[in-house]
């Protein structure tokens, strides 16, 4: 943290603060640079996911074939009648649970509780990994049993497959990357690397921002792809 920032400790509130934040000769955002960079990365990621979701909207509007009903396509039977969308609902709850454990990990980090931070991050990573596992199961079922391909499927509009594989695949990739990222930070927490740096656990919050974003994207995918 540079001295320039500290100098202007008393910052103006409200819109006046916006003007002074941008116009004064100092760092614009009163946050650590790593956090500002993560936010800007997430902003760019927002546009990538938006492109996928908007193109999904465009092909769904423009097709003259019936769009497969997600409620039926993703139904799962546990012996009895198939329950609509049940696997997706479980995946949604798992991701929300992981978001909760991550928020707690960030909180524990700022309380400088090394062990709790570590274990909460590990729990988050395990939940994330189980999400990816369920997604692998879902993909396998769709490809092997239902015969869905990126270019065709037996249920209706061919665009269903390409939209599905692109959107959920890209999201699954983000979750997988997040699991690796979280484990990496968690191990460094455990080894006391941040403790030695004066108990600065900002990195946990930055990793948390990424993880919450992955959950956030799922909220939109769940609404637009699975429920709509």
């Amino acid at each position: 943290m540079s001295e320039v920032v500290m100098e202007h400790a008393a910052e103006a509130p409200g819109l006046e603060g916006v003007v002074s934040d941008f116009s004064r000769d100092k760092q614009v955002f009163g946050v650590p640079w790593g956090k500002a960079m993560m936010w800007i990365f997430l902003l760019s990621d927002t546009f990538i996911f938006s492109c996928f979701l908007v193109s999904y909207m465009a092909v769904r509007i423009s097709t003259t074939d019936p769009w497969p009903v997600p409620s039926e396509v993703f139904a799962l039977s546990f012996g009895g009648d198939p329950i609509p969308l049940i696997l997706i609902a479980i995946m949604t709850f798992i991701l929300i649970t992981s978001s909760g454990t991550m928020a707690m990990a960030v909180n524990m980090g700022y309380r400088r509780d090394k062990n709790k931070t570590f274990w909460l991050m590990v729990a988050t990573a395990i939940l994330g990994a189980s999400f990816v596992g369920m997604q692998a199961f879902e993909w396998t079922k769709l490809i092997v049993e239902e015969g869905v391909r990126p270019w065709s499927n037996p249920m209706g509009a061919a665009q269903f497959g390409s939209s599905f594989f692109m959107i959920t695949g890209f999201h699954g990739l983000h979750v997988s990357a997040g699991v690796i990222y979280l484990m990496w930070v968690a191990i460094r927490v455990k080894r006391g690397i941040y403790e030695r740096r004066g108990g600065n656990y900002e990195i946990v919050e930055i990793a948390g921002l990424y993880w919450h974003f992955v959950d956030l994207v799922w909220v939109f995918i769940f609404a637009f792809f699975y429920l709509w």
């Binding site: 650590p32 936010w39 709850f93 919050e205 948390g208």
Partner: protein, 116 residues
């Protein structure tokens, strides 16, 4: 400066938001489970979606406690996506019309309970 000690907030607020996200997710699943159709389906889906997204950004991602400059810089630009949605919806409708008019494809009319 607020960030000298990072974003430190009571645990209680996280637990409440966590619970709330569970409840709202349950509601949004119920929209499908109870097979709500027509006007209320997209309306409820969008309401629950924005409530969840809002709480994740505001509380879990700590946006509510950040300065307005950061809020505007991060949350402002995605508004441009609305224009893209509008344009692509127009384009999608136009392409569907040309497919019907020039390729003789028939428009799909959604029926109440589909096959299976």
């Amino acid at each position: 400066m607020a960030h000298e000690e990072g974003q430190q907030h009571p645990i209680k607020i996280y637990l409440w938001i966590w619970l709330l996200l569970f409840v709202v997710s349950f509601f949004s699943y119920m929209v499908d489970y109870m097979n709500i159709q027509g006007f209320w389906r997209p309306t409820l889906i969008l309401i629950f979606m924005f409530v969840k997204a809002g709480f994740i950004i505001a509380i879990f991602m700590h946006m509510q406690w950040e300065r307005i400059a950061l809020k505007l810089a991060i949350l402002g630009p995605p508004a441009a996506i609305l224009v893209l949605i509008w344009l692509m919806a127009l384009e999608g409708g136009y392409i569907e019309d040309t497919r019907v008019d020039y390729y003789g494809e028939s428009t799909f009319e959604p029926q109440a309970p589909p096959h299976h």
